[in-house]
């Protein structure tokens, strides 16, 4: 796989919702390129028929009894919200 281009880095930054300057895109392209180059060594591995591991414990669908419990108070949940009005979170215009 080729080294990451500046354009690719900008695309990825957009997907990750990170504002990025030209200089940063250049710097990150070089640094991320080194890391992905290093990751290329995984291609030496024959992984035919090897199942991917997502999780090391043999746990599947951990369930609890469907009993209602009290959640956190709304007022408490709003404590860290910077901008709010009438108990609701306020954000700038979407468009």
């Amino acid at each position: 796989m080729a080294k990451l281009t500046k354009e690719e880095v900008k695309h990825v930054a957009n997907l990750a919702r990170l504002a990025i300057t030209e200089e940063e895109a250049e710097k990150f392209a070089e640094q991320l390129g080194k890391i992905t180059d290093f990751a290329e060594q995984l291609n030496e591995l024959d992984t035919t028929n090897v199942e991917p591991t997502t999780h090391v414990l043999p746990l599947v669908n951990v369930m609890r009894e469907d009993v209602a419990v009290k959640g956190l108070d709304r007022e408490v949940m709003m404590l860290n919200v910077k901008e709010q009005e009438d108990g609701q979170v306020k954000v700038p215009a979407i468009m």
Partner: protein, 487 residues
């Protein structure tokens, strides 16, 4: 010297004899912090007012109602949420964030009667190996202030090494408890994945993260793990496996214990002093009746690459919650919602965090998913299988914790890949999910070296037994940094 030179057991005996009170111990912690933390720079938030009041109340509790850790002070890594005590993950994006509930481990500390002294610095969102990635301060190594304490739980290890607190909690995603424990000459345990609840631990890489104890000796470590371990309905990945009495495992007996030494852990890239200290430690354990055999973990060399892909992928998803809307830092002077997200995150995250979010986003993107993310997950399967195979015939695996002692501040900051290589000996255990401890086993140029003991799933008891036997047979844990004496 400090009161915290004593073990939990010794402190409790002094309290019972009437020579010490819980209030004295809390006071000692804050006095040590006032005296030393200007140099060490370990603490972010202080809980002094509440802790002092709590200590006075606890002195009134009758002895028969007290457990082995009752009234003892502890520092908590700043990625573990503490109700009403600022929790930042050492990031600008969480500046001023006041958690509205306690992590399960914090509740368990309270149940054990421990007193939370304050919050400990770290690499931002636990991404780093030196504590240089903190937005707030760079913690120093108490053995030599020009060197890093390791990371990401660097301050958790440094605060214990400096004798500011006798106990701390860290978290370990790729070595973040063990590597700083090694660099600071203290005892740090990464438990089996699922052993300790992650509820209230700000998630970095959910399939790898695990909270664990850092202490000055093995017995204290065993006591603290027992206090925080166990199934938690709030963490569906916490395991329903009984928590044994770890302290009871400290018998000193390792006769017939089968030790595996992977040749990959003593080969290329591992410093001579680290190698020699491990070989000497193996002789000590042989002298106590253990047997030692060389083995191979052939996929070890792929762990670093697999780890950076997987942990960054998980991080890119986990850290999407930091958007400036519901908590923490919010960018100003933006006109629409998309810019608010992008500017908040651009201004709120440091470079290392951004690098990993982008690496993760890239690895999970259409077109690269199979080549990076899935391939890394398959590599993880092969790495885990190496461990399963060795543990069919052996009780523990032993090697160094880190290739070298603590490096100098500023030495590795410009090259992410060199920095990442510090974790080459600790990362595989997170990928496999097995427990591992680092204990002091030597020095190089006045800086500590760590011995890593790795165990089977949920067999922390055997690790503690071996670590304790080694500790009792050697003097390394009795060494303290020079700052204990003077100042």
């Amino acid at each position: 010297m400090t009161l915290f030179e004593r073990s939990a057991k010794e402190l409790q005996a002094e309290i019972k004899a009437g020579n010490l009170s819980i209030a004295d111990l809390t006071k000692e912690a804050y006095e040590r912090i006032a005296k030393l933390d200007g140099d060490v720079q370990a603490f972010l938030a202080s809980n002094e007012e509440k802790a002092t009041a709590q200590a006075a109340e606890m002195d009134k509790v009758p002895f028969e109602k007290r457990g082995p850790l009752f009234g003892l002070p502890i520092g908590v890594k700043d990625n573990i949420v503490t109700e009403g005590l600022e929790t930042t993950c050492a990031s600008k994006i969480l500046e001023g964030f006041m958690p509205i509930y306690d992590a399960t481990v914090v509740n368990k500390l309270r149940e054990a009667g421990m007193i939370t002294v304050g919050k400990l610095n770290m690499d931002e969102f636990a991404m780093g190996s030196s504590n240089e990635n903190s937005y707030y301060k760079t913690t120093k190594n108490p053995w030599n202030l020009n060197h890093v304490p390791g990371g990401s739980s660097g301050a958790s290890a440094a605060a214990v090494a400096a004798g500011e607190v006798p106990f701390s909690l860290g978290s370990d995603t790729g070595g973040s408890i063990r590597q700083p424990a090694a660099y600071c000459g203290v005892v740090g345990m990464k438990p089996t994945y699922g052993r300790v609840s992650r509820f209230g631990l700000v998630a970095f890489a959910s399939s790898l993260d695990q909270i664990g104890p850092i202490t000055r000796n093995v017995e204290d470590n065993a006591l603290l793990l027992e206090a925080i371990a166990g199934l938690d309905p709030n963490d569906s990945t916490s395991a329903n496996v009984e928590v044994p009495n770890y302290a009871a495992a400290l018998t000193g007996d390792v006769k017939g214990l089968r030790i595996a030494v992977p040749k990959e852990f003593l080969g290329e890239g591992v410093g001579e002093a680290a190698r020699q200290s491990v070989l000497a430690a193996l002789e000590v354990l042989k002298g106590l009746g253990a047997t030692v055999e060389e083995v191979s973990l052939p996929h070890s060399k792929y762990a670093l690459a697999a780890y950076y892909i997987l942990s960054s992928s998980e991080a890119s998803s986990n850290l999407s919650r930091f958007d400036g809307i519901r908590y923490g830092f919010r960018a100003e002077n933006v006109t629409n919602l998309m810019d608010l997200y992008k500017e908040t995150r651009a201004q709120g995250f440091g470079d290392e965090v951004k690098r990993r979010i982008m690496l993760g986003t890239y690895s999970l993107s259409a077109g690269t998913y199979d080549a990076y993310y899935k391939k890394a997950q398959q590599a993880r399967t092969l790495i885990k299988a190496d461990y399963d195979k060795v543990f069919e015939d052996f009780d523990v695996i032993i090697g160094p914790t880190a290739p070298t002692p603590a490096f100098k501040i500023g030495e590795n900051v410009d090259d992410p890949m060199t920095m990442y290589a510090n974790d080459i000996l600790t990362i595989p255990m997170n990928l496999a999910g097995v427990p591992a401890i680092s204990i002091p086993c030597g020095f190089e140029n006045g800086l500590p070296l760590g011995l890593q003991i790795i165990g089977k799933y949920f067999d922390e008891a055997t690790i503690y037994r071996v670590a304790h036997a080694f500790e009792q047979a050697t003097e390394f844990h009795k060494e303290v940094p020079q700052m204990w004496e003077g100042k």
